[in-house]
Amino acid sequence: MKNRKPEITLSKQQNDKRFSMRMQKKLAVLFALILVAFLTLSVRLFAINRDNGEKYKKQVLSQQEYDSVTLIAKRGDILDKNGSKLAVSQKVYNVILDAKKLNSSDGEFLEPTLQAIYSTGISFLYTKEELRDFIRQNPSSQYRVIAKKQSFDVTSPLMDMLNNPAEYPDIKGIWLEDNYQRQYPYNSLACDVVGFVQGDNEGIYGLEEYYNDSLNGTNGREYGYLNDDENLERTIKPAQDGNTIVTSLDVNIQSIVEKHILAFNEQYKDAFREGNGSSNTGVIVMNPNTGEVLAMASYPVFDLNNPRDTNGLKVEMPQMTVKDANDPDDPEAEENAETQETQETEETPQTEEGAENAGTATMMVSPMTDPSLMGEAYEEAFEQAKMEALNALWKNFCINSTYEPGSTMKPFTMACGLEEGLLTGNENYRCEGVLNVGGHEIHCSNRLGHGDLTFSGALENSCNVAFMKIGATIGRSTFMKYNKIFNFGLKTNIDLAGESRTDTLVFDESVMTPTDLAVGSFGQGFNTTMIQMITGFCSLINGGYYYQPHLVTKILNSEGATIRAVEPRILKQTISAETSEKIRELCVNVVALGTGRSARPAGYMIGGKTGTAEKLPRGNGNYLVSFIGFAPADDPQIVIYTVIDEPNAKEQASAKFATVLTRDILTEVLPYLNVFQTEELSEEEAAELAEKQLLFSNGSTLEEETEEETPEAEENAEGEAAENADTEEEDKEEETERKIQFDPETGYAIDPTTGDLLDPETGRPIDSNVSDLADVTTSPITFVDEE
């Protein structure tokens, strides 16, 4: 066109084709209309700002808060005294599905993404098919957890894919969410003490619950805010990781204790009745000079990494009869019931197998319960029963269970009398096997009577009659005063969740009868917890210092700096150092000469006291046997308290269950603590020890240590050991020689007061269900006993 000559462009034809004036006019109109439209819109923009500006500004700011991201804090670790990790938090990842994004672009990402994520080895909550269905049914879902708590190793291939969108362009709608998973490297070790977490790091039981706030730290946040110029700035408030707690527990001692508890329970499993070796076994090892707990264990145990595992848990169903669901007159119903019973038995082996694997107990399902017939009601009842069983399992026997302590109370009673000057230690007592107090016949464990006993002999033989007399000497008010001094009835406030209150389970001085005083003097009629007993006992033998029992010795922040050190804290002086010295001697005698002989580990002298408490209801033959002791005898480094509730045996009333378990534990723990042997080993003991070492330790260094003997100790111990042996025999002869009548038919001795047949060696009734406290019925809580 440019090259055309003007003449041609001005030709008429061309001119006709020019944009006419009329059209220009109309175009101007159109332009005006467009301007009007623009003007209107500008006014509209202005109006929005004028009318709603403030409101919308606020709205924008309030929305902004939702945009902030929580940065999860890491929960602190739980360490033993040597730094071994009892509980740690491991970083894990949740895989999140954004179905909306995955479905974008006509679903072309769906298959490649599914293909890719299922090739990574992550264990998803859904199968590929289920996930596909889910995506189809919920195409707009933007947040769905499809894999939980996956470790770094497992998720790293997926991470690589997500970090390389260029290489993996087809992977869409998948992202990873950081989280922490609580892990317990020692599995069931110290399970009751450590406790576990549920949900969002909410500690349950034990240290996890007690120190929950300190362990948890504070979650951080990433958020936007407005600066002075009203500009949005994003800022990160980092998460404050939780504190680490260092405990006084020693993983080695704890393992030794748990190993022996397990061995004991395995040994007595199904021995007399079907079930565990005992209904409960608890052991606490404590440092009497600081109040620090070195080990605390009970039985049965559970895996902290899987606390809800009911495999091997004994779930006792409430009785539900098939008749509830069927017409009793219908013969078919009975047939059905039978068939189903058969099916039930067929199913049981599976559960039993699981039980064996877990090494604890068997699942018992009542034969009259049937899931198909009971339906929901059954399910509900079963769930409830399961939860109850789990709760029982999770509880810490050592601080939660209350029981009558039995004769382990006797040193406390003596200390009370000695401290108040009511006893001198030179008293003599005569035991006829039974004493009438307040019109009630209360038997001694030896129904034939212990005969004449010295003050020390009363404790050595654990004579109830003698202690009832001591109790009467001390009197009600003094006895109760000292119960309070020893903290019975009050929590020890140990730093563990779930300690029981016993304030309503002790005697009320205002209504206490002479009978109550009598049985109380040997540890029946009121309840204590294990931690109360051992804490009080520590003060008996450490010079009278009542330490605050505790587990945590230090709290570290996330950088490892100590933010709190827990020093041993003396709460009070319970008795004088002199009385404590006396009690120590008496307790050593118990182990050297009396009922605690079987608790002495070869090569060591220890002190202690046995206990055989008769449980309620009386006369059922159920006992709680125990031993509380300290080692070594001359300079107590540890105090150990062993309680076995209802040992699985026909004759439960023998403290031997507890003393032997204690001896096994001490045989390993004392060498570990580098306590030198003080006693000479007899040939038998040496052989036994060698055998035990083989049995206990699998090539550990413990073996070598125990074999080291100091020549000094050997010399010192020689005479003493021989002496002990003599006295022992003499005592026994003396006891059995006294006016015993024998039943001509069986050869058993006859109880002079009741006529029951007795074992001539021990003076115990042949019928294990005969109660020493059968006649005691007056006080609200009643009973008694002891070996």
Binding site: P6, Q14, F31
Partner: protein, 385 residues
């Protein structure tokens, strides 16, 4: 403008007129668009693709390609297009039908694209095609279409294309734009006024009736997602979490911008609240970041651009060239008006992009091609003695 004035105006211009003003406006809008696009999309791009410049790069590429196309078209004699009205018409129609073939593909839930090495939106092609076709048609039969009957027939020629865009690609907004472009071109080409106001009144009446029926629930919104958009338009707060979400968030953005805005890059609404803000809703972020001042400035730029179109059309050397410019002017002004109307909730939400600024490859390339047409027409303007 009087004849005299016009002559003087033309005299001031040099031979071989080239409208640098228009070119400058276009380049300004393009650069401004890229800056805004980066500001708006970087957050989402970073989240989605790990590259905050993801959208910017794609748009930059399309822009450069578009400028090349524009320059090419500028230097092609626009009379070339006068010879191919039917090719333009049927090519437009044909491309739309290609969406139904395996070449077509779907994104964001709508099947609107075809893939021929690059992705192409047939509706964008159709807009240019229709402008060429009607410019050629009207300039050829100018006098003969002035009767009402033939005017209606001419307008009717746009219906097959608009309808197939509506039905095949389910793209109501493009159909409306095409129809409006044609309507405006015919309006300029024919002498009547009354009839057009009548048509306008009828259309507005129909729309009002539909809106009334929908709002009263007589036309249930389950029938079409468009009905639910009408409800969301009338009452965005009530549908805040569903169909009204985008609109409401857009209003928040505009309302929180104040006179001078929060400053470039300081929008909060782009942080995930306005979905795909770089597309239809970019104007609301402009309002938020640059305030009423920035928004008005952009509107003024568009007005300036349209005024340049007016000048070029008035001075075009022939009717075909003038009508081409009128078509482009109609296209751009309708899109700007409708886009801002949607963003300010003046009309129900429908996907219309803001020319030169919104993200979208096909759109920018064809818009620049149209600018090329206009510049080509401006080059054809000859000085009168």
């Amino acid at each position: 403008m009087s004849e005299q004035k016009k002559s003087r105006f033309k005299k001031e211009r040099k031979t071989g007129v080239f409208d640098y003003t228009l070119l400058f406006i276009v380049l300004f809008l393009l650069c401004f668009g890229l800056v805004m696009l980066y500001s708006v999309s970087s957050y989402e791009a970073n989240l989605k693709f790990g590259d905050s410049a993801y959208y910017l790069k794609k748009q930059l590429f399309a822009t450069i390609f578009g400028i090349v196309v524009m320059v090419g078209v500028t230097f092609v004699n626009y009379h070339l297009w006068d010879h191919m009205p039917f090719i333009a018409y049927f090519a437009s129609l044909g491309l739309i039908f290609l969406v139904l073939t395996p070449l077509g593909y779907e994104a964001n839930g709508a099947k609107r694209w075809i893939k021929v090495g690059f992705s192409l939106q047939p509706a964008e092609v159709a807009k240019v095609g229709m402008i060429i076709f009607f410019a050629a048609w009207v300039s050829r039969f100018g006098k003969r279409i002035q009767s009402l009957k033939s005017t209606l027939f001419t307008i009717g020629l746009a219906i097959p294309v608009a309808l197939s865009i509506l039905l095949i690609t389910e793209n109501l907004s493009s159909a409306i734009i095409i129809f409006c472009i044609v309507l405006m071109m015919i309006f300029v080409a024919t002498p009547n006024y009354k009839e057009y106001f009548l048509i306008g009144a009828v259309l507005i009446g129909i729309a009002a009736i539909v809106v009334l029926l929908v709002s009263k629930g007589i036309l249930p919104e389950e029938l079409s997602y468009r009905f639910s958009r009408i409800n969301a338009w009338l009452n965005p707060e009530k549908y805040a979490s569903t169909t009204g979400f985008q609109t409401l968030q857009s209003l928040y953005a505009i309302g929180s911008g104040d006179i001078f805005g929060k400053g470039l890059g300081q929008s909060m609404q782009k942080l995930g609240f306005i979905p795909e803000a770089q597309n239809d809703m970019i104007f609301s972020i402009i309002c938020e970041e640059l305030g009423l001042f920035g928004a008005t400035a952009i509107i003024l730029m568009f007005i300036l651009m349209i005024w340049r179109f007016l000048i070029i059309a008035n001075n075009a050397s022939d009717e075909f060239g003038a009508l081409l410019v009128v078509g482009v002017m109609a296209h751009i002004s309708i899109q700007v008006i409708l886009n801002i109307a949607v963003v300010t909730n003046a009309i129900p939400n429908t996907g219309i992009t803001l020319p030169f600024i919104s993200y979208g490859g096909s759109s920018i390339v064809f818009l620049l091609a149209e600018i090329g047409l206009v510049l080509s027409v401006s080059r054809g303007i000859r000085l009168e003695n």
